[in-house]
């Protein structure tokens, strides 16, 4: 019988983290890149909840609290990113971050 244990959740999180990295590297659209970032944040959040369930001192909810903050900060981050992106879009008419590469030398 296969018991679901901590390791299974951690592997799911690791897969999501890897997928997030893959998305960021391979996508052109800035919004899609942001989606990759969300995947990475979710992977970490899932880790926290899983650890809280399996290996933290039983009385405390530190991991879950941390996850709440991750979600809040992810929302804030997405708002900032989209606001800046909209502003850039008004100037350049593109959301292809590959084309937003004037800052280099």
């Amino acid at each position: 019988m296969l018991d679901v244990s901590l390791k299974h959740y951690l592997l799911v999180a690791a897969l999501m983290f890897a997928a997030g990295v893959g998305v960021i590297i391979s996508r052109r659209n800035a919004i899609a890149v942001l989606c990759g970032v969300e995947l990475i944040l979710n992977a970490a959040a899932l880790n926290f909840v899983a650890f809280n369930r399996y290996s933290a001192p039983s009385g405390r909810l530190d991991g879950q609290v941390f996850t709440i903050f991750i979600i809040i900060l992810a929302a804030a981050e997405a708002a900032i990113a989209l606001a800046i992106l909209l502003n850039l879009f008004q100037q350049t008419n593109t959301v292809d971050v590959d084309e937003a590469d004037t800052l280099r030398e």
Partner: protein
Amino acid sequence: MQMPDTILIALLIVALPLAAWTIGFLHAAVRRRLPACQDWISTVAVGVSLALSLYLMFSQVLAGPAGMQAVTHSWRWFAIGSGDNAFVLNFDVLVDNLTVAMFCVVNIVAFLVHVYSRSYMHAEDRYPRFFLHLSLFTFSMLGLLVTSNLMMLFIFWELVGVCSYFLIGFFFLKKSAGDASKKAFVLNRIGDACFMAGIFMIGGLLAKQWPGESVLSFQRIWESIAMLGHGQGPWIGHESEVAIAGLLVFVGCMTKSAQFPLHVWLPDAMEGPTPVSALIHAATMVAAGVYMIVRMFPLMAGKGYVSGDFLDSPALWVIAFIGGITALFSGTIALVQTDLKKGLAYSTCSQLGYMVMAVGVGSISAGMFHLFTHAFFKACLFLGSGSVIHAVHSQEMKDMGGLRAKMPITYATFLIACLAIAGTPLFSGFLSKEAVLGQAAAFGAHHDSLLGWVPFTLAAVTAFLTAFYMFRLLFLTFHGKPGDRHKFEHAHESPAAMTMPLVVLAVLALIAGGIALPFGLDLGTGHWFQDRVNDQVLVQNTMGNTPAFADMQANMVHRHDPLPNANEAVSSFHHHAHTVHMPVLLMSLCAVLIGISAAWLLFVRRRSHDIVGGIPPLAKARVVMSNLYYVDWFYCNRVVPTVKDIADLAKAFDKSVIDALVNGVARFGTHIAWFAGRVDSLVVDGAVNGSGSSMLALGQFFRGLVNGKIQDYVKYTVWGLGLLMIWAVLARG
């Protein structure tokens, strides 16, 4: 501790030029321009400084058989940390014979250069600023002489370098001047970095012995050397580190004193105003490197210093060879220069090679002696060349010629200086050069191996070359027909403000050798100069009459008057020093005579402008010189082309390897190809280029990673973290 008057006077000597600089700087800060009379302020300051130096010289050094009683004083500057881990730096001051003598030399030359510049630079823009720089330079140089702490010495050393940077680039609107100053600065950084590394090694080793003390003072270093000689102290088990530290310190000397292969900045530094060339790049600053290794001599000598059996010290061998190679190498390049100042610059390199070699073969007296005499005659030569350039508005010798009649005073002083540098008897250069050659010969005889004779051989060949190329410069400039009729017509003798310093320097070039005559100034009391400036006196001066020195002295063999208990190696050396004396004397005489005559034949009789210019077989000349025909032919067609080729090759090596490294590595591919056919040093060359260009290529690579695309940034970041993980896991197992 009560401060002795001598210290006070010495500090005043150092502080006066600083005061002149400060006045100018504050004036500029408040009024947004320098004072119009900055030239007077600076000149008076250095004049008073000179007077005080001479006072010290006459009242202390010249009195008494062994010169003055050295005085030391030290102030706590700062301490980082506390207790045994503290890093402490004292401001250590030492005034002894050598300091006062150097004070006099620096102040004499500096004062004369100030006077000369008031006329020479008068029409230039930023005239007051020039004097501001001169004052700062004089202060730094004097400060360097008065410290007896390696760290303080390094600080002044850097200050001197910065002043040099300002002054070489004084005509900074000229691109070449800007480039030259940058080159000098960058190249000197190499030496400084090594010097600093050496200081750290020394400090690190000493800090274990004297925790929480100012360990970089000379006194501690000598004590450690003395202890090392007795098989104790902080350096036991670290002999190789001490040797490496010594060599690192010596690399500092190599850049400042323009030793091969780090000399290339000096000829380019001639872009600076001519008085600067005289003061900094001939007489004083470049000598700072020599002064430094003279002070550091026990460190270079290493373990055998106390027993006197130090001639096998690896550091000394390196120093002797580097010095000898520099002397010959630069001497050959000087043969083919067409620019008057560059010719003099290479001759400076060559003479500095002599001084360094003298230290390497174990005689700091000879090295310092040559430094003193050289300061006067080389300053005279440079100021003379400035006078000529002032008259014809050109540095190229092809525009000169026949100026003898137009500029009699300049000619006469230039001639005296040439005779001195060539080593003609009765002139100061003869005595000092003979001292160096004699020591080199004794070194050879002592080791009695092929390798041991190399420094002497190099020096002897250079002695001949020196006479030859110096007189070539003289003849091409002042004799023969005018190269440029128009310029010749307008040439005239310089004003008195410029000729008077020349005369003073010429007189000094004539008589300065007197201080080392056996009978000296105080008749009949032995070698006057050697008694006052030698390594034992210097060490004694620094350590004072401390128990440590008493112990050291008890075990120290008096090398200059071998005592019966001297060990075999030491007596052998002294034996040789006496036996080689006379042959060396004769040999150097011959070298001078042959050199001057050859120059005369070629440039005056054959009216050649180039050293290969004598090839066209003029009928008249052939008749006159028939007796010398084959020699002449051989000389002109075989020796001279060969020498010229060597010189060209050396110069090309110079230009392509070291210049290009400094100026940028872009043009290097072609040079490598050019080199491949000619020089065996391709491997070395390639390595040098490789490191330079690969640095830029790496920079290009890292820059290329930041390509503006955020996805790639993330990709490289993840890879970077991965590599860091691999490395960390591997490194920790």
